[in-house]
């Protein structure tokens, strides 16, 4: 560092290295200072307006009273206002009337898709594709009827069909014969269908009785579809469905969605959605 400043009048700090490298005392550029001051002013204004400083048990709330939750609720409200145009019409209309209205049923399909995903798809599969032991909703084979109102009843009250276990009343050979007849889709071809009173539940033509929820045995659509379908039919005949007397019985229960679980309108929406999946009557 030089004792004598060889570069007078150029506003240097007097720090000079290698005879000519020196530090000047120029101000930072104006644009930089504007940016700097604007930044700290912004921070102060922001922390006054918005929730910011942590305090011992709570935090400073900000003079605008903004909260993330409040913003979410506002957004939700404005969303509901848009939906209200359709939602307000739904409670007063029957499922059939809604389905007759293109615009309304379009809305219901979009809206119920979420409900279906939340409540139904876990068992019945996305799009009602069904799962082992859970019925397909996209076909037109219905145990309890496939009109929108029948579907509403099924969702509201749940369903629990019963088939007696026949391990005691039928011999293995008889079960084999009946199972093979069902497998062919012609249950009445076996005389046992009449003599062993299968018709009492499945109807004299074997097409099921929807009031009882008994299966149609003629259409090749199985309630308990499995890889080895013949074995599955034999198992069902042997152990029944929901028969408390047989510990190996098949469990098949559709839970109740009415009451506190889903509102009537939501159930109506779901019924329309399910009705339109591919097999509504």
């Amino acid at each position: 560092m030089s004792e004598k400043n060889p570069f007078p009048n150029e506003n240097n700090s007097g720090h000079i290295w290698d005879n000519d490298l020196r530090e000047l005392l120029n101000d930072p550029p104006t644009w930089w200072r504007i940016g700097f001051h604007a930044s700290w002013i912004l921070v102060i204004v922001y922390t006054i307006l918005y929730p910011s400083w942590p305090m011992l048990t709570t935090h400073y709330k900000g003079v605008m009273g903004w909260t993330a939750m409040g913003e979410y609720k506002e957004d939700l409200q404005s969303l509901e206002q848009i939906r209200a145009k359709y939602e307000d019409q739904l409670p007063g209309k029957s499922a059939a009337a809604i389905m007759a209205d293109d615009e309304l049923s379009n809305y219901v399909m979009k809206s119920a898709k979420v409900l279906f995903g939340d409540n139904c798809a876990a068992c019945h599969g996305g799009g009602g594709a069904g799962n082992p032991s859970y019925p397909i909703l996209a076909d037109d084979d219905w145990l309890y009827g496939g009109t929108a109102n029948e579907i509403i009843t099924s969702i509201t009250n749940g369903r629990k069909g019963v088939m007696t276990a026949h391990s005691k009343s039928l011999s293995t050979a008889e079960i084999d014969e009946l199972a093979n007849a069902v497998m062919k889709g012609e249950p009445t071809s076996s005389p046992l269908f009449m003599t062993k009173a299968c018709f009492a539940c499945h109807g004299p033509d074997g097409k099921g009785i929807s009031a009882m929820g008994s299966a149609n045995l003629t259409d090749g659509i199985y309630r308990f579809a499995e890889e080895d379908q013949l074995a599955s039919i034999k198992y069902t005949i042997t152990h029944g469905v929901n028969d408390a007397s047989d510990p190996a019985t098949r469990n098949a229960e559709m839970p109740t969605f009415g009451g506190s679980k889903l509102s009537e309108t939501d159930i109506k929406k779901l019924a329309i959605y399910v009705h339109k999946l591919g097999g509504g009557k």
């Binding site: 996209a138 259409d219 090749g220 591919g278």
Partner: protein, 476 residues
């Protein structure tokens, strides 16, 4: 350093030599306002003509066509209308070709004739030109303005200064408003503007345009070209030795000397050091130093020099449009012998053909079909296999269409959900769920081809089709 070394070896000496070179570096980094002189001439007139192409920007939105705005970029409804053509997001590939066309046009023009865009068409050049024209009308010739710049503010003509800034801001605002008019109905939007009843977004756009027009054309001017604009830099590398640009013919001009009592020394070149070329330059460039980054090739120095050459009875063209090779005495090859322009022109041609093809094949109807994956298929109780499809019909016409849907595939297929005609909303996609059923015994393959066809019920020439699949169970 030892004390005995002589002065020329002292490091300070070398440094000063370097600094002297730097002093010749003539890029004005904004410390001085350039007050360019205005002189009439061929290129001055040409500049007004090219600048007037921007009137399209201001007047275009008021054009009507069939009781609608002729050109409207309707972002809200996601459609562009250009006369009878409707362009929807599906046609956006054409936009990329339009961009390609103009990008290559820029390259082609630049390689042939330098920064033509910068000098004659660029909004920065045009707006600055208009702003300085207004400045000259209100505050006088460059000399008067330079003098006034040195005076304290209160001694200047405050009224005229205020008027100038007001007009500048108004031009900026008009620029912003005109920009927004392309995106909505111009007449309705003007009424909204006059009632101060437009969206916040429009106000922000107008404010942004006003501020930046005012700032860029009023104050920053050539600085925008020097260090803000990327195209200025890109175009600099697009020129080559065959590109013609305003060039000072130094073989003829040097050594330059001043006229003494109107007499010209025969040993000297034609340049009489009148500095008019420098005085008229809007970017403050001395063209006699050769082609340089500040030059926007506007040709105003050619006008200035020619007028002086005429006065001293020398041939015009001491500064003229020529290439670097021409300056060295070589001949300029014709364009068809230069690969670069040829390649550019062929790319432009391909892009233009693509755009033309797109515009003539827009079609009125577009169909797309999504096969439902969950479930892929279901067995129905009558023994048929059912597949579900989402039919999406795009109606590109401004009218509602009644659509008939058919499917071609295995025999005895039935479509469920399309017995009525389908209603397709104009300018939008209408979506329908339909089912196709085929008896299981008729299926010979796990997957069969299915072709969906849609027709306008009133005019079956308007149609579209889409190939899809029909899925069934495994055939054993």
């Amino acid at each position: 350093m030892s004390e005995t070394t002589n002065n020329s070896d002292h490091p300070h000496h070398h440094i000063h030599e370097l600094y002297e070179e730097v002093d010749h570096w003539e890029v004005n980094t904004g410390e001085q306002t350039i007050h360019a002189k205005r002189m009439p001439g061929v290129f001055r007139n040409l500049k007004w003509i090219t600048a007037s192409t921007w009137l399209i920007f201001f007047l275009g939105p008021y054009l009507r066509w069939n009781d609608k705005q002729a050109i409207i970029f309707d972002i809200m409804d996601r459609q562009f209308h250009i006369f009878n053509i409707t362009i929807l997001p599906q046609d956006v590939w054409m936009l990329s070709l339009v961009l390609l066309f103009f990008a290559i046009l820029l390259a082609a023009v630049t390689s042939i004739a330098g920064r033509v865009f910068c000098g004659y068409f660029c909004f920065q050049t045009v707006w600055t030109d208009v702003f300085t024209w207004i400045e000259e009308k209100l505050e006088g010739k460059p000399a008067a303005r330079r003098k006034a710049d040195k005076l304290p503010l209160l001694q200047q003509n405050i009224f005229r200064k205020l008027l100038k800034h007001t007009i500048w801001i108004l031009i900026g605002a008009l620029t912003g408003i005109s920009f927004t008019l392309w995106f909505g109905d111009a007449y309705e939007m003007w009424s909204d503007y006059l009632h101060l009843n437009v969206s916040l977004f429009s106000w922000v756009v107008v404010a942004t345009f006003s501020v930046f027009s005012y700032l860029f054309a009023g104050f920053m001017r050539e600085q925008v070209c020097l260090w803000l604009c990327p195209y200025a830099r890109i175009q600099g590398v697009m020129v080559d030795v065959d590109s013609i640009m305003p060039t000072y013919d130094y073989h003829r001009g040097e050594p330059r000397s001043r006229l003494k009592k109107g007499v010209h020394d025969a040993d000297k070149g034609d340049c009489v050091e009148c500095n008019q070329c420098y005085a008229v330059c809007p970017t403050g460039v001395d063209i006699r130093n050769g082609q340089q980054e500040g030059c926007i090739t506007c040709g105003l120095c050619i006008d200035a020099c020619d007028s002086v050459m005429e006065k001293i009875q020398k041939p015009r063209g001491l500064i003229r449009y020529m290439s670097l090779d021409e300056l060295q005495g070589k001949e300029l090859p014709p364009i068809y012998k230069r690969p670069r322009p040829l390649i550019y022109i062929s790319i432009m041609l391909i892009a233009a053909i693509g755009i033309l093809y797109g515009l003539t094949h827009l079609g009125a109807l577009e169909l797309s079909v999504l096969h439902e994956r969950q479930p892929l298929f279901v067995l129905q109780s009558d023994g048929s296999i059912q597949n579900k499809y989402q039919i999406k019909i795009l109606n590109k016409t401004p009218k509602e269409m009644k659509i008939i849907l058919r499917a071609e595939g295995p025999k005895s297929l039935t479509i469920i959900g399309a017995d009525k005609t389908l209603k397709s909303i104009p300018g939008k996609i209408s979506s329908f769920s339909i089912f196709v059923r085929i008896p299981k015994k008729e299926l010979t393959e796990e997957r069969e081809k299915l072709i969906f066809k849609v027709y306008n019920a009133d005019n079956d020439k308007i149609n579209a089709d889409y190939e899809s699949m029909f899925f069934g169970p495994q055939i054993h």
